[in-house]
Amino acid sequence: MSAPGDQLSLARTGARSGASPFLHLGFWVASLVAVVAVATLPFDSYAINVLMQASTFAVAVFGLCVVLGLCGQINLAQAAFFGFGAYAVALGTTGYHLDFWLCLGIGALFALAAGALLGMSTLRLGGHYLAMVTISFQQIVTLVMINAIGLTRGPDGIGNIGRPAGLQSSQSYLAFCVAALAVVGYLVWHLPDTRLGRAMRAVRDNELAAGVAGINVYRTKVIAFAMSALLGSLGGSLFAGGFTYVSPDQFSFAESIVFLTMALLGGAASPIGAVIGTSLLILIPEWLRFLKSLPGLYLAIYGLFVILIVRFMPDGIWGFVQMLAGGARRKAPAPLAVPPLRLEPAQAGGNYVLQVKGLRKYFGGLKAVDDVDINVRRGGVHALIGPNGSGKTTMLNVLSGLYKATGGQVLLDGVDITALSAHARTSAGLGRTFQNIRLFRSMTALENVVIGAARPGNVTIEGGASELMARALAALDFVGLGGRAHESVTRFSYGHQRLIEIARALAGNPTLLLLDEPAAGLNSSEKRDLHDLLKRIAAQGLTILIIDHDMTLVREAAQHITALNFGRRIADGDSVSVLQQPDVVAAYLGSA
């Protein structure tokens, strides 16, 4: 399954973190004007109803911005959460005569819990399976709403829903909805720049790399789902108070599809896109009333538009607009000067940073790694070599926690990490790069490295966004790319992307750096630069374990080599002697 983030939202590039305070102020002023206008100008009931529907739906669609646009997880149950909020207010104010705000809160809590539960199913599932779970959840909720008459009053629905005291008139209530929309929109707008938001974006772009960079992928997804559910419920509560009548047919799977289409139409990753998408999909039916003469024609065109939008405007309308405006973007702020990168690897355990004892990884009958011992001495470069299929990358994947070992033990700096998940190992001090580069493609070089810097367990950082930025910048300087920190990673050459990956790992101040074929695809001058980089890294005391095929690099850079063939260790010792051993030579060149 390929990462959904690749193709869904590449429009989010450029100087995000540089949003000026002028923009913030402008937003609040505009929102205030909108709220006051709505509250005071004479609107007829038609306009009020349209705006009411648009604003409450938009809040729910913001929820999809978070879970789908930002975190890349599919959620086809947003209408169910919308329903939770609506029914909480409906039942609470009519049946139990509770205060509107209390009902809103209860609905929100309930939705939060349900959303988290749904998010927990992502532990094992993604993609289509996740889609199916959310659909099933949605269908079950709709069935309960219709049939559990004792609880929900069934298909008749609930009328005479109360509004908060002081907001009884339609216009004041609408003004309140618009205000709520503005506040929520602001939060969703700035979410991508927070630590949590960056984590979500990383998960969307490249889940594997996110885990290895120290992000707790599972927890991030659960939070994303919970937030989506919360916003859905909020929208539903506002909707119920606005229209004062709800019935189960408004919270069905078809409505979830409507929310999804609204998100995609405008651009799932941005709240502005969500508002555009929602408004269009509510207003277009109003404008296209002349097409209503032939039943089905309007909806057929709607379906056609969905296909066309997905095909030609994958980032939605707002993403498209941003792309058009891309050339007119203001210049990125010049990177500040920062102190050079300091690497302070931990020194807790004895002589060996890494001890691998009897490691085994079997895939059914295939013994990819068969009873291998490796001891990596502290400081310097240790290489792992072997012909293709010898088990090197499998070994690395087991070491970094992407595969579970079938047997054996792995100790990092004296701590047993054999059973830890990938992100837990990263917290424990492991850093790695990938053979096929895994950068977060929607982000800039700096943002990628910041994620690495935010590794829990990074002792060089006390906390705080500016420290993270400074550390990340220092890491980029260290690999020679500090001047291009604010460019999107897709603009860098292959060799430079590899350097960014290394910088990302370094920024986290690991205890051991695992490099998987770092020289692959580099030309000879780039390889020399890489060699220099390795020397500089080792000079600061950080231990490196490198896999590579380039024997020249290995011979020059590594002090110690372990050789594998057919999953077993065939040689281990200092570089020069290992490379002269007959069975090592035979493994590579074949016996005469």
Partner: protein
């Protein structure tokens, strides 16, 4: 006991319907790694084609059937070129959305042309059914079960014992490798869509006499068929069949012994249980991502 036997027959009958539609899902998924949310509409379009030829134009039943299937083959080509092919390099999410859009487009286009009233399509047989002891066997359902069995055998033979079938399998397992071996991936995918459209068409035409030809007939079944695919295991054809039958039986018995209105809920509940504990399904394989 009589009750249980009747329910069993009905469960297998409706399960066979789910299974046939599920086969179409599985094929497209295996070839393209994409779930086709418009699969139900394939069945619906075929049923309407049948109505046009056999009812409106009055052509002989068997002739209309063949022409309708030919129409479905053409439809598969158009669908591939219009919906999947332009998006083939993108991730699964845009494709899912595009197929949802296609589903809306198809059902409403048919609505615009034919109107919302359901149509009647005669069954294959003159006699509506046979009474076997305490159990009534609807003849169309018997036909559906028989055709499902034939299709499974055919599909097994085709995929395992013909070169084309092997090529299709290779393409579904590793597109790049297949292409390196000289297999035209785009042709294989086209064949898959055509076959899946024809399969969906057969399912639709067989089911139409029982469920009536209506705009919604496809979506009613498709969601359940999708669930069946997961229960059986997304990767495996036999699994889709088993999943379909299992779902049909669970639903029918659940409705009779527990609650009729919540019948649909059982299907989804079972699905969720499977997804949480056995996501690979009964027969499927777990696919690990290459690091």
């Amino acid at each position: 006991m009589d009750l249980a036997l009747q329910l069993l027959f009905t469960g297998i009958g409706i399960g066979a319907v789910y299974a046939m539609v599920a086969l179409g899902f599985v094929l497209i998924f295996r070839a393209t790694n994409v779930v086709n949310f418009a699969q139900g509409e394939f069945s619906m379009v075929a049923a309407y084609l049948m109505v046009v030829f056999a009812v409106d134009l009055g052509w002989p039943y068997w002739l209309s059937f063949l022409i309708a299937l030919a129409g479905m083959a053409l439809f598969g080509v158009v669908f591939n070129l219009g919906v999947y092919y332009p998006l083939r390099h993108r991730s699964f999410l845009p494709v899912i959305i595009a197929t949802i859009g296609a589903s809306i487009l198809l059902s409403n286009s048919v609505l615009a042309i034919y109107g919302p009233q359901p149509q009647v399509l005669e069954g294959w047989f003159e006699t509506p059914g046979i009474q076997l002891g305490p159990v009534y066997l609807d003849s169309q359902y018997l036909l559906i079960i028989a055709v499902a069995v034939v299709l499974v055998i055919f599909q097994y033979w085709f995929f395992e014992h013909t070169l084309l079938g092997k090529k299709l399998q290779a393409t579904s397992q590793d597109k790049e490798m297949a292409s390196l071996l000289g297999i035209s991936v785009s042709t294989m995918i086209m064949i898959t869509f055509v076959y899946s459209a024809v399969l969906g068409g057969i399912a639709g035409i067989l089911v139409a006499p029982v469920l009536f030809v209506s705009i919604q007939m496809g979506s009613t079944i498709a969601l359940k068929a999708f669930a069946a695919t997961i229960i059986g295991g997304f990767g495996d054809v036999a699994g889709a069949i088993i999943g379909g039958l299992a779902l049909g039986i669970i639903e029918t018995f659940g409705a009779a012994y527990i609650s009729v209105p919540y019948k649909d809920g059982f299907a989804f509940l079972v699905l969720v249980v499977f997804l949480v504990f056995w996501p690979q399904g009964i027969f499927g394989e777990r696919v690990a991502e290459k690091a």
